[in-house]
Symmetry: D2
Subunit: 288 residues, 4 copies
């Protein structure tokens, strides 16, 4: 019966953050123990700078999630906590936004199908139609929403409508090349992940790979971060670099850079979808 089904044993992931104080772990473990549950794996971190405490718990609950949910309501109020409880392994409902470059999209769709990336790609949205065939190959709906200066507001409204209608939990900007308006960025705060190239030193303005080439850098990298109103300045989730040499042309740098971009973005999406990334002001806590 339905009732029994809901109360069947479930593997759950709990994440929470709250002002640090004695007794948090005890209160959480109390909830689990008093429901006959068991902690499979857990990590906690107290940030002495911000005074916040962060926790991620993988647990098994023989009575299902309902009693845990209820107890967490009370806990959340008492400890002034932000918390989230989810089924372990549940694919996160995701939209992937693209423009013309397919390296990140291809990689995400490949990993979703073959490599255990726990997302459900509800739609691929492009401001150009170029990548529709890639979406089709992986059996994902492709939606073209062109963006011009004039239509930007309208286009964002359409996107937001889609996000709400489809209960989208994650929007991945996979080289989308459009800056979200501050309004949309705030609306979707904490649910939009972007990837951008990164260099030592960093370069502002157009054609960053050409600038990096002109400067003769020996490393090029990429940064995946949550989108905030201040683009490229949101909380960093993951970064990585790759080595280049004097023999590499600007074109080679672009190609190497794309390789890092797709790897870093996929890693960030994976950690986010496994509820491993918690926001800590302008920084992140990554329980990887």
């Amino acid at each position: 019966m339905a009732v029994e089904e809901t109360s069947a044993s479930e593997k759950l992931i709990l994440t929470l953050s709250c002002p640090d104080q004695p007794g948090i772990v005890h209160a959480v473990s109390d909830i689990i123990v008093s429901n006959d549950g068991n902690i499979i794996q857990s990590q906690q971190f107290g940030d002495s700078d911000t005074g916040l405490f962060f926790m991620r718990v993988e647990l098994e609950s023989p009575r299902g999630r309902t009693p845990i949910d209820e107890a967490l309501e009370e806990f959340g109020e008492k400890f002034d906590a932000t918390w989230n409880l989810d089924q372990m392994g549940r694919p996160i409902r995701t939209i992937i936004m693209v423009s013309k470059e397919g390296h990140c999209l291809t990689d995400l769709l490949y990993r979703q199908r073959y490599a255990g990336l726990p997302i459900e790609v509800v739609a691929v949205v492009g401001n150009h139609p170029d990548l529709a065939p890639v979406a089709q190959f992986y059996g994902k709906p492709f939606l073209c929403i062109p963006v011009t200066k004039e239509t930007k507001e309208e286009a964002e409204a359409e996107l937001l409508k889609l996000v709400r209608a489809e209960r989208i939990e994650l929007v991945v900007l996979a080289r989308y090349m459009q800056i979200l308006s501050d309004r949309l960025a705030e609306e979707l705060a904490g649910s939009v992940i972007n990837i951008h190239h990164s260099f030592l030193p960093s370069f502002k303005g157009a054609r960053p790979y050409a600038q990096a080439h002109a400067r003769g850098v020996k490393l090029i990298g990429a940064t995946a971060h949550y989108v905030t109103a201040d683009l490229d300045e949101g909380p960093i989730i993951e970064q990585d670099v790759t080595r280049v040499t004097h023999r590499d042309s600007t074109r080679d740098l672009v190609s190497e850079g794309q390789d890092v971009e797709r790897r870093v973005l996929a890693q960030a999406v994976k950690w986010h979808s496994e509820h491993r990334v918690l926001l800590n002001g302008s920084r992140t806590v990554v329980f990887n």
Copy 2:
């Protein structure tokens, strides 16, 4: 007064492992909370293969360590747990064993003095006198205990005597080039860290760097591990590699390899000394 001193607030590190079962975290947090303590940071891991549960907690105890210690005694019996409680940041009493190559010794002593490596080097022990000046420069006693086939038993007895007399907690084989007897390895199980070169594929026998060169490998690496009766097969703590090319001679490989060796060994010693490494059968759990 002494009593007040003991009961002053202390930062502590608790590590434990025990057969997995519901209630472990709850019981531990109960001990901390009921002594007005606070968890600063913690990690837990349940290994479904071995059925063991591992936990590391950094905590603040306003009443000092004594009441925590007492409560853990009881906990340990109830949960069949192996546990350790230590002052956070206390330098681990260490002997560094060397032969003729100084790269690891130099690095460890440098990091101990300048880079926060939390060990107290009670003595440097060499089977050759070559590295005495390095120990002297850093103000550490150097003890030469030569080892031949005939004197090995005697030499190990001397070492063991030193370990006991000085309450040594950690013995680092910093390119010691001598195999400990099974007896000594068992006696000091879990407190001896060794470093050795590692290759893909691995090479047995003499002159491994020459073999690696002959094979044309593109990576050379190093592995730091706890010493068990089966040398080079103890639980791995850390590994790393570096890139080499066709231009590198065997001598270059040795030099590159030494660089990886000292980096990997220093990392392993640091993690061990911060109580981040827990034994899990023939494997380790590293809460880094």
Copy 3:
């Protein structure tokens, strides 16, 4: 006219190896200079172990390749040299062999189309039909040649026929999971690239990732190499590793390992196709 076309300026890549002796570079540059050519980029390496000299030259020849070819004939005889002259950027005619796992195939086809991998994929050959859709998506012919103990000889004959009929220059074993017979391996020596997982230490026998997990390794890697009669022991082209932890299950290791495999294989195929890899006995010289 045709004659003029052939003599139009061409960018060429010359690779050669021969017993080391004075005058090689001079003789080669003489050929280029006396044909009004210019060296864009070049690397030389003399291996004091084997006494062989290796050279790779990117050159511009205003009179086309014919006079260079002719002069190299003479040079080759005089210096007992193995040499190859090719148009720069010409895609190498390639067969990709697969079984059921698509991570390497997907990556190679993606890079061929979007990321400048200079191969022409003449066919994808599988011993199972599973990956036909991937080949189709990228518009490549898929050929299923099942292999059983009984049909192996026949299957290899069919493959060899295809290689000859289509003037195939490179066969990539992209997780093909079949061991080529010694006969085929010798027949195609230097033109078959394989990828396999690599560990520190290495593990023999079945289920290597499970063994690596049981051993608690902290790194897993991959090796791309030319296939020789002795599988997994051919000249190494490229190796890389990735970091894993105690939290990773065998399944996680497989997934991480696939990521390294595809990256390393793609790199090896790229370098091979750009004529950057020269055989040096059981080793390689990689002019990257």
Copy 4:
């Protein structure tokens, strides 16, 4: 006799750069061949952006360096080339400049003595006396030249005098923490190597590690470069990064950063001393 000594066989390293044109390699190899010499190893690179050609040759000259030198004079004029000929393995006369932090100094002196770093440390110069014992331990003269706003000109004059008197070829700023005047930077152009921390994104102003911590970066790095009048903007020789996490305090970042700094600086000094680094405008060509 002197004559015979000079004409004994010598291993030499030739580096050169000049405007690209046909015939450079041929002319160089002609010089070597016509003196019965042999090329052991060589690399060439033509930069299509700057139109410059770069070459590094390791050669054996049975008649010594004199005839090669003479022929290069003529070559240099004809091809408008900058060139350098040196004995292979000759230690480069070096001054190491320090302030109070010893991580880079310790590493360089260690590598010079034990790990084949081909420099001759003529003196260690500090603007503070703190690191004198380190220099002493390695048997190197330590010279304290304090620097204040008032004495800077005088201090630089003293340094320059030392450089000239001792025929210093390389000045290493090993966390020297002083900015060289534009005048000195120009005077010593191409012979001063500096190390500084690098981040993605980069941070300007004071306490960069604190800024990096506040920003929550996941990588920290270091850049070694030639000093030009524009500090931190000279031609980059080498860069590397290391991974950090949310658990790392600013102090941890400093410690990790020092590790990268010393590794990157040592690599840059090694390549420079082996004549592997050639200047290409504001960039470098590194024949590693």
